[in-house]
């Protein structure tokens, strides 16, 4: 027998290989998400319920003509052991990019991905409606004192956590106190709630309680702020101040937010890391607009989202630049499903005014005038964004349609450079950008080429990873000479762009720009109660800034989404706001 051992081994090896090949082949036969197409799916197991109902004009025609009826259509009533009855919406996770949200803890929400879930699962005293106006949420109404420094909120009596416990003023207080607690380690709460009296004292460990938050009775809470800022309600609408359940937070689950007990229109029922997050509608939701879709599956991974959308596995998809030409073509069937949404974001090329040669405004302007933004947008960005003419993006209140933007004028640029103090002695420029590839992005390369051609500037590109890049530009003394960066609005107020990015000494003033006239205008505007006047003042500042060109605004962002025609009421807001409750499925 022993002589045969080797032979037996080989036979076993071959058998195993055979089994592997058979398994693969078998799997391929079983899989077929597209009823009516020539593929596997012999056993009629579509991966999703709604596919059985999906209208399929072309496919049905094909299957009726040449081929047998596909098994799927006959055998599968709209029920499946993986999903319960009711209507199901399948969306790409988060902001459409997929991936797990870093947290579902409202107090720690510092990124868009997390916020998209948190606004649906939890709610705050106030929120935004579809038109980005502040509306009551957990608070029914509120009073503002005459000096604008004391807000008294009356809570709704019918609001409940998902587990049925009514929401009280004590819950609101607990949530805000928790955001201030240094142990919560929130990096965002001071930004949104730092204006509350005593908030920073607790945050820095000088006090154990926030003195400006007082519970009047079970359904009334009073909040005092330091100065009468006009955007306080808008900051309360940010997830940082959303209400959490004390018993949930202290449940001992590690971390607690994996099983969140919120108050929002949707509840989290399942979270398979890297795979999917499943939300179900909160039948007891107190709001006027009740959620309609029973179950929302947010797919976190799963390969090309575009492919899955076209295959019918997803009901909406965010279009990437790779597919932009195809879907923008009016003859393409997908074009009818396309929605283009302006975003509240602007991308900038930043000139560090503290570094040679950008300490001379003429050099900055010459650089800005040598860049053909239109061509850049048409060729490199495939017209996905819009060419920027100013700092505030188009969809923003305070956008100035009269601005022409810095013109593309190579001759004028040369003249300016010749007049500057670096005439004939322009130093080499290092452009820092985020990246890890062998070559920099094509936008960076295109701009560097334009600068070389029009000004003879010698530009070398230095790529760094995001973490390193951040540690550079978040310092008080930025070492980068020239770099590119995008900014998205946190709240809908011109201050978020003009004030934060260009006020001398502001933390996000990357260019180091410090113009006393601009500073004065910004300071005036930030306390101006009249909205129209505020906007005018910010616009004046914006014009002055553009003349000095500490940055070159390149483009205003736009998002491209495809949505299946049976999904109604969907919209893609430029800020993260509650939106799932507006969606219905009509098949």
């Amino acid at each position: 027998m022993s002589e045969n051992r080797g032979l037996i081994a080989v036979v076993i090896v071959l058998l195993v290989a055979l089994v592997g090949v058979i398994c693969i082949g078998f799997g391929a036969l079983v899989y077929c998400p597209q009823p009516g197409s020539v593929c596997g799916g012999l056993f009629g197991a579509p991966s999703n319920v709604s596919q059985a109902n999906t209208p399929q004009p072309q496919a049905t025609a094909a299957s009726n003509q040449g081929q047998n009826q596909t098994p799927n259509q006959n055998q599968n009533p709209p029920s499946n052991n993986t999903a319960p009855a009711g209507n199901v919406l399948r969306l790409p996770g988060g902001s459409g990019l997929g991936g797990d949200p870093p947290t579902l803890d409202p107090a720690n929400t510092s990124d868009v991905e997390s916020a998209t879930y948190i606004v649906e699962i939890y709610s705050g005293l106030v929120g935004f409606n579809k038109d980005l106006k502040i509306v009551p949420d957990l608070a029914e109404k509120w009073d503002v004192s005459n000096d604008g420094k004391t807000y008294t909120f009356a809570l709704r009596k019918d609001a409940k956590f998902h587990d049925g416990r009514p929401v009280t003023a004590q819950d609101v207080q607990y949530s805000l106190e928790r955001a201030a607690d240094p142990k919560t380690r929130s990096t965002v709460s001071p930004l949104y709630l730092g204006d509350i009296v005593g908030f920073m004292d607790k945050y820095t460990g000088k006090a154990t309680q926030v003195s400006g938050i007082k519970v009047i009775d079970n359904s009334t809470i009073q909040i005092d702020i330091d100065k009468p800022i006009s955007y306080f309600l808008a900051s309360l609408a940010h997830p940082t101040s959303y209400v959490v359940d004390k018993f949930n937070v202290e449940s001992g689950e590690q971390p607690w937010y994996l099983k969140p007990n919120g108050t929002g229109p949707y509840k989290l029922v399942q979270w398979d890391q890297g795979q999917q997050i499943i939300l179900e509608k909160n039948a007891d939701y107190y709001g006027e607009i009740k959620p309609s879709v029973d179950r929302i599956e947010l797919i976190l991974g799963g390969g090309s989202a575009m492919t899955r959308y076209e295959n019918g596995d997803l009901d909406a998809v965010r279009v990437s630049i790779a597919d932009i030409e195809r879907v923008s073509d009016p003859t393409n069937t997908l074009n009818k499903e396309l929605v283009i949404e302006p975003q509240l974001s602007t991308s900038f090329l930043v000139f560090n005014t503290r570094k040679a040669p950008f300490d001379d405004p003429k050099v900055r302007l010459a650089f800005a005038m040598s860049i053909d933004k239109q061509k850049l947008n048409d060729v490199v960005f495939k017209k996905m964004p819009v060419v920027a003419t100013g700092i505030l993006p188009q969809a923003f209140p305070g956008f100035n349609p009269n601005l022409q933007g810095i013109p593309y004028d190579p001759e004028g640029a040369k003249k300016l450079l010749a007049e500057s103090k670096y005439a004939g002695s322009l130093p080499d420029i290092v452009w820092s950008t985020v990246g890890g590839g062998g070559t920099a992005g094509s936008d960076v390369q295109a701009i560097a080429e334009m600068l070389k051609e029009n000004l003879g500037a010698n530009i070398s590109v230095e790529q760094t990873d995001w973490a390193t890049y951040l540690s550079q530009i978040n310092g008080s003394n930025i070492d980068f000479q020239m770099f590119d960066i995008g900014w998205s609005a946190d709240y809908v107020d011109p201050h978020n762009f003009i004030g934060l990015l260009f006020r001398g000494g502001s933390l996000n003033n990357w260019s180091g720009y410090d113009n006393p006239d601009v500073n004065k205008l910004i300071d005036e505007a930030s306390v101006e109660p009249n909205l129209e006047k505020r906007i005018q003042t910010y616009q004046q500042a914006e014009e002055l800034i553009l003349k000095d060109a500490p940055v070159l605004p390149l483009t205003y962002g736009r998002d491209y989404w495809l949505t299946k025609p049976y999904v109604k009421g969907v919209f893609y807001p430029p800020l993260v706001i509650e939106r799932l409750k507006y969606i219905t499925i009509e098949k």
Partner: protein, 318 residues
């Protein structure tokens, strides 16, 4: 033998301490900071400092290292700071490691046996059409870049193609993870196995050709043994030695080898986790990952060495 194993294992903790020291230092002193990554552009040095203090990042290096090690010895490998805030590193790895292991297991199961079998046949039928064919497959398998092959396969198999009224496909899902028995595993496992198939075929063929021309094979044939007996008993046994080395490293590579594929097919395995963590300065996840990888490599190396002794009686350890 036992003494040898014990001696090798004693070195493991020493190695782990050295590796962890270096990784820890690189994490703390390298550029970038998890708190800043968390805040993104909303920086405020005062807040960064405050939060760093809460995390204890302001303490001296050795204190932090000591805390880490003592916690790790009690099974607490720290928490994710940025990408999965507050989740235990051990939980994260426990969720993802099985996925990577399953994916690689399937890849190995189809490719390694097939590769060995093909290699044997190619060596026995040298210069025949089979050999030419197998060598062609091998060259393709080694030279085709996975990064280029994945989108092509994805296009061919995972998309719906409309040719007039005829709709073809999709035959396979474009990615994602639904467990080891779902068709989602087919594409990534196929891609992963392709490289292994090529390597194993080539190694087996080379090893077999070498031993087939050895004196003892000629002797065996001269004794009048049947050809398959010569191959199985005399040739293959000796060809195992180089194969064991690559099998060992294939197993060790289970932990890292599937990173590209995981990324492309959005499979939430450990490779994807490691990559994310590196980019967002997740000190603790990177530490855990490095320590696991080091342990696995040491142990696999040991197993390879021991396996040699079993296959080749001439190799004995004291």
């Amino acid at each position: 033998m036992l003494a040898y194993i014990v001696q090798r294992l004693i070195w493991l903790p020493v190695l782990l301490i050295l590796i962890s020291l270096v990784t820890f230092a690189l994490g703390l002193y390298g550029p970038g900071d998890p708190v800043q990554v968390m805040m993104g552009l909303h920086t405020n040095p005062q807040i960064v400092e405050q939060v760093r203090q809460e995390y204890g990042f302001d303490q001296p290096f050795l204190v932090q290292y000591w805390n880490y090690i003592t916690n790790a010895l009690q099974g607490n490998f720290g928490y994710s700071l940025v990408k999965y805030q507050g989740q235990r590193v051990s939980d994260l790895i426990a969720k993802r490691l099985p996925i990577t292991l399953q994916l690689n297991l399937v890849a190995i199961l189809w490719s390694v046996p097939l590769g060995i079998a093909l290699g044997i046949f190619a060596a026995l039928k040298r210069k025949s059409w089979l050999d030419v064919f197998v060598r062609g497959v091998v060259i393709l398998g080694i030279s085709l870049p996975v990064i280029g092959l994945m989108p092509v396969l994805d296009f061919a198999l995972s998309r719906k193609h409309e040719l007039g009224a005829l709709v073809i496909g999709p035959f396979l899902p474009p990615g994602g993870w639904r467990g080891i028995f779902a068709p989602h595993i087919i594409q990534p496992a196929f891609i992963l196995g392709l490289g292994l198939l090529a390597v194993y075929t080539r190694q087996t063929r080379a090893a077999m050709i070498e031993v087939m021309s050895a004196d003892y094979v000629r002797t065996a044939r001269a004794k009048g043994l049947k050809e398959w007996m010569v191959v199985m008993r005399h040739a293959l046994r000796n060809a195992w030695i180089p194969l064991i080395t690559i099998i060992g490293f294939t197993l060790a590579g289970l932990f890292a080898g599937s990173f590209l594929v995981e990324q492309f097919y959005s499979i939430p395995g450990i490779g994807a986790l490691a990559y994310e963590s590196l980019l967002s300065k997740e000190y603790y996840v990177i530490m855990a990952f490095t320590l696991i990888a080091a342990t696995v490599y040491v142990i696999i190396n040991l197993i390879i060495d021991i396996a040699y002794a079993f296959v080749d009686p001439r190799i004995r350890y004291k």
